[in-house]
Amino acid sequence: MKRWLFWGVVIAILCALPRFLGDYTLYVVSLTYVYTIVAIGLNLTLGYANQVSLCHASFFGIGAYTMALLLAQGWSFWLILPLSGIFGGLFGAVVGFPALKWKDHYLALITIAVNIITFFVMVQESWLTGGPTGVSGISRPSIGSLSFASDFNYYYLLLVFCILAILASIWIVNSKWGRAFRAIGLNELAARGHGISSFNYKLLAFAVGAFFAGVGGGLFAPLLRYIAPDAFTFFISLEFLIMIVIGGMGRIEGPIIGAIIVVMGPEVLRMAEAAYLIVYSLMLILVMLFMREGLVIVLDRLRKAIPARVGSRE
């Protein structure tokens, strides 16, 4: 009961937030929602199933380009958004094939290679992608008379999708799929011994993770109204990795905490881009050295400490 109250208050605050934010801050919070969705996808692939993906920016980009290019063809946003996810997911399943044979550093390198190749395709195949300058003039959707064209309205659309993504990830993690992901992540051999097809579930882990990234991309393109290959480089994949590692791999809260820190941190601290990248790179090392569970354990400790004083909660 208290839990519902807590989340109700959080959502109410988030709904009221745009009234108090300036244009730019509103954009940063909106961007945080988009990145949260992508990071949730990576968390399913890497955090739960333990399959390294350093090409989530590719999946993200495929979703974004699907949206931008099909919108230009006059398709409806509501039809393209699932397609963004499906194209991202299909590509993810293809990328997942090497994971059947290779893991850890091999898989990391292979997925870096995938990201480099897709980046080159985005830059070079300008007949399709618009080349280095990308696609501009991307429109925002509407439902009947309700238009999401303004930054203010589009914020709410992103908020809804972000909440849906979080709920979907909770559902997946607790489903048969999620248990299979975790089993493979913990010990592949033992999982196979228990009749879990590592073939199916590894591909599925990539496909589902990439689906989230694709949907994120589909929401990203109308947010910026402009996309270019620079937004989908290997370095962006690295930022997604930083998000879930700092936040906490294999935890629902992980990608949310990570996206908030990585996207909003630089704005709050008013740092130059390179300066915050130093800080995050250092955090990646420090988290691996001293706090492998990520910042989510700080939350866990708080949660344990508070009910002890206020009275039991769960």
Partner: protein
């Protein structure tokens, strides 16, 4: 034909550089199961060190070079001491993530602390092209090939013939057994880390005039060296060299004869082809523990 030979020389000179960096990679993996995703930055940092010592502080070439190698060695030592030692028990993935962090830290650190711009480094050798019966080539490439080949041969002999080298091989084959034979495994591992970063520092000297000195040069160098190690065979020094040459030649010829647009992507495609056809690498030996 003249074109072909010119490209061949250019490709080999490039490839042998990748090869040296890849050899360091393979040595680290063999002796301590460390994968260094910051390997490219271990070349980039000495490049800047060399610029700082030789061009900014105007220290003469040889003392500057030796100081740069000392700097590289310290980097390698600290890498083992402060990071790898604590991370190894956590498994390969932990090392992968942490070294990705290290690569970012060094990359953006240099960008902020020094410059985001490209610095030039004077060529080590004459760049006056030599013409020989219709073939034009730069002496720079030839000298690079000669010097790096000598370094690799010396390294090879050290590993095969000296007591220390044999101790390294023993550690690579089996840590416990090596320990029982009275080898100080800790010291050997530190030695390999220092050796790796010194090799990378040497590669930096030759790479600086060719690639120029830039904070983000390490990414492509590191990825290509890693690809070289994999397509050559991860468990062999010979493999790293073959892989490096393959990468250098493939990208040079592909850029010349197919298209320059995908120059850096060709290597990645090559990686997929080798992984599909011969996953243990071109001269590698099959092993269970991937």
């Amino acid at each position: 034909m003249a074109d072909f030979i010119q490209l061949l020389i250019g490709g080999v000179s490039m490839g042998i550089l990748y090869g040296v960096v890849a050899i360091g990679f393979v040595l680290l993996w063999q002796t301590s199961q460390t994968i260094n995703f910051a390997q490219g930055e271990f070349v980039m940092v000495p490049m800047f060190l060399m610029v700082a010592l030789h061009i900014v502080l105007k220290i003469p070439f040889w003392p500057a070079f030796i100081l740069m190698l000392v700097g590289s060695a310290i980097l390698g030592y600290l890498f083992e001491r402060l990071m790898v030692r604590k991370l190894l028990p956590g498994g390969v993935l932990v090392i992968v993530i942490a070294t990705l962090g290290l690569s970012g830290f060094l990359r953006y650190g240099i960008q902020i602390a020094w410059t985001p711009q490209t610095l030039f480094f004077p060529p080590l050798f004459s760049t006056e092209p030599i013409r020989l019966s219709g073939i034009t080539f730069s002496p720079e490439d030839i000298w690079n090939i000669v010097f790096i080949s000598v370094i690799i041969v010396v390294l090879h002999l050290c590993i095969k013939r000296t007591k220390l080298g044999m101790a390294m091989q023993a550690v690579a084959q089996g840590r416990e057994t090596a320990e029982l034979m009275g080898i100080n495994v800790r010291h050997i591992i530190i030695l390999v880390f220092v050796l790796n970063s010194v090799l990378a520092g040497t590669a930096a000297l030759f790479a600086a005039p060719i690639f120029f000195v830039r904070y983000d040069i390490g990414i492509f160098l590191g990825v290509k060296a890693f690809v070289a190690a994999i397509i050559g065979g991860f468990n062999q020094i010979r493999g790293a060299l073959v892989g490096g040459l393959t990468v250098g030649l493939a990208e040079t010829f592909a850029a010349a004869y197919i298209t320059t647009a995908y120059r850096d992507a060709f290597v990645m495609i090559l990686l997929f082809i080798v992984l599909l056809i011969k996953p243990e690498g071109m001269v590698g030996i099959k092993e269970e523990a991937y």
